[in-house]
């Protein structure tokens, strides 16, 4: 097994053509066995991907930017910062990279809900080249084998309000579930709603029916009590609680999210 440290994206693309390669950024989510079994480990830390920048109205985050760096760079009340604050620990956030977190979705990653709600896009090199939506990436992960994520980007600001919360046993614990709500508003009415639950049996649940019900309505006109009654969420039993319990907590957090956003308007 050998380690490679490409200096350019072209060099990376060349290396990705080989079989048995494995990409390393921070390495926190990579088991030793994985390194041992790889023919080549490609460490991407020498690539110029350690950035978080606002490019017009787009936030661009390079794959090797650490979670700490993202927290320091985005607005302190940004949805992603809220999610990152309860992700792993300070020393881990200093090492976990955005690219690794997106590509491997380790236990402690709280990225999924927020990135879906933000409509994030991924820049990818390797067997596939170009920009793909994060949602597409998640729904067809196999297709992206042999690729490397080089950038995550999403719309900055706009008339969108967000809520994020999660359930865990302690402050450092990985999330048993997360809920993310994002409403983009046109004046007083909801233009588009995104509601995502993660930690459930499916990789994530978009609450499409509820989202559709919001469209074109004023938040005040929506009856919060019945809002999530028809939502079916299925969770596996986890150390933090049984499946049915987690489903119940998810519903409570969704309600609270809606209340928080409605009262903030």
């Amino acid at each position: 097994m050998e380690w490679y440290f490409p200096k350019s994206l072209e060099e990376l693309a060349e290396l990705l053509k080989e079989e048995g390669v494995f990409i390393h950024a921070g390495g926190t989510a990579i088991k030793e066995e994985r390194i041992k079994s790889a023919k080549r480990v490609i460490d991407i830390s020498s690539l110029p991907l350690n950035y978080v920048k606002k490019d017009g109205d787009i936030w661009r985050i390079g794959a090797t930017a650490t979670l700490s760096r993202v927290m320091d760079s985005l607005e302190s009340d940004h949805l992603l910062v809220k999610a990152l604050k309860c992700t792993a620990t300070t020393p881990l956030r200093n090492r976990i990279t955005v690219g690794g977190s997106v590509f491997l979705s380790p236990l402690w990653s709280n990225f999924m809900g927020p990135l879906l709600a933000l409509d994030a896009k991924l820049n990818v090199v390797g067997k596939l080249n170009g920009t793909y939506s994060y949602e597409e990436f998640l729904s067809n992960k196999a297709k992206f084998q042999g690729c490397a994520v080089t950038e995550v980007n999403f719309q900055a600001g706009g008339s969108t309000c967000f809520f994020f919360d999660r359930f865990a046993r302690t402050a450092n614990d990985y999330s048993a579930l997360t809920v993310t709500l994002g409403f983009s508003m046109k004046g007083d009415v909801v233009d588009e709603a995104k509601i995502v639950v993660t930690g459930c049996k499916k990789v994530y649940e978009r609450l499409n029916a509820v989202e559709a019900g919001f469209k074109g309505k004023s938040l005040k006109a929506i009856d919060p009590d019945r809002l999530f009654d028809d939502v079916k969420l299925e969770f596996a039993d986890k150390p933090a609680g049984s499946g049915p319990y987690l489903a119940e907590v998810a519903r409570v957090l969704l309600m609270r999210g809606f209340d928080a956003l409605a009262s903030a308007r």
């Binding site: 926190t28 041992k36 480990v41 460490d43 020393p91």
Partner: protein, 155 residues
């Protein structure tokens, strides 16, 4: 494989397995001030600074460290010339078994570099990667506050 590592300001040529963690590289080469408590990135006993940033050395592959500067607790002070943070831990009664202390001291060092005057909440967040079973953290938080005062006085 073989590579050179900058540890506490000195360059060392060291041999290691391609899958070796930084923790093992350091301990196997005599840097036993880096402790091993869980090997799963939770307890922080193995904390070191990489270019001044706190990381769990058990979660870092040695091969990936490259030119970056590694600092262990011995890189900031010694029993003969202690750093004010180490003195603060001693004075505040923050050292019980002491197994977490090198990591706690480094976490404090990294915090005070960024934020010389942290609030209680900021201290708790900065130390959230370091587990201690002995103290209930009360005296450790006292120590960080005392250290902040000491470091300021020293400047």
């Amino acid at each position: 494989m073989k590579a050179s590592f900058n540890i506490n300001g000195k360059v060392h040529e060291l041999e290691f397995a391609p899958h070796a963690r930084l923790l093992d590289l350091l301990r196997d080469n005599g840097f036993t001030e880096v402790k091993c408590g869980c090997r799963e990135g939770f307890c922080g006993a193995c904390s070191v600074l990489l270019d001044g940033e706190l990381v769990n050395s058990c979660m870092v592959y040695a091969a990936s460290v490259g030119e970056r500067k590694i600092t262990t607790v011995k890189g900031i002070g010694s029993i003969h010339e202690p750093h004010p943070i180490q003195e603060a831990f001693v004075e505040a009664g923050a050292v019980q078994c002491g197994f977490c202390t090198p990591g706690m001291v480094l976490a404090t060092y990294a915090l005070l570099q960024r934020n010389p005057d942290p609030t209680d909440e900021e201290i708790k967040e900065a130390l959230d990667g370091n587990f201690c079973r002995c103290t209930g953290y009360v005296k450790i938080i006292d120590a960080v506050k005392l250290a902040a005062r000491k470091v300021k006085e020293n400047d």
